[in-house]
Amino acid sequence: MSDLDQHLPRIAAGDPEAFGRWVAGCELRLRASLSSFAARVDIEAVVQETLLRIWQIAPRIEPDGRPDCALRVAVRIARNLAVSELRRVGHAPIAEPIALEAPQEPDPLLRGIIATCRDKLPQQPAAALTERLLHGGVLPDRDLAAHLGMQLNTFLQNITRARKLLAECLERHGIHWESP
């Protein structure tokens, strides 16, 4: 199992590609560690703010000899951000031990099946999904819908349909995608 801290020196030197590899390896574990806050805090905003802060403080992160030091720092930052947000809106903090999921290695077979299922999507859901994949983190859905000449609600319906059709296709391949 690879240690994500292998990317730290290059991240600290300001290499966005190395940071991207680190994010690709840790994002889902970071997000999953925040599940208990989901009803009270917008987890997507916390995850993005945490990743930006890790980029800023990377030169000051000192590996402690245990794997994934930077990810553990990220989890602490994320929880502090979530607790701060809870306090800001007057909610009591959530006291829960930090539990990190086991890392998952990329599965080329799974990626291939997902790509095959994507290729089978009808035109409109495929177009909506592609728009999200290309620009979804940078532009709001209203803009993505406008790019495709769709109403916002139609665009969102197509995203939902794409996800459901992909899940059904994966199910036929024995992959239970909709499970948490």
Binding site: G20, A38, P140
Partner: protein, 79 residues
């Protein structure tokens, strides 16, 4: 699609507005959801990010792409 479904789908996307000093803020639609719908949006987002990463040649989700765009000085905060 119900109004509730549309809000959940928007919140499950990776786009987020920013403050004038660059801090990432909650999606405007997130405030219109109740607790159960926020948890549903979280679960949908978890699935979507896995899916996006699996479909991306570099294994990057749209969240990762959003953050990388920020650190490269690209992107929009249009609400």
């Amino acid at each position: 699609m119900t109004d509730r479904d549309a809000l959940v789908e928007q919140v499950a996307a990776a786009w987020r507005p920013r403050t004038s000093d660059g801090e990432v803020r909650a999606h405007p639609a997130w405030h219109d959801l109740d607790d159960a719908d926020r948890e549903e949006a979280y679960r949908v987002a978890l699935r979507m990010r896995r899916l996006e990463a699996a479909l991306d040649p570099e294994g990057l989700s749209t969240t990762a792409r959003a953050v990388l765009a920020r650190i490269r000085g690209v992107g929009s905060s249009t609400p």
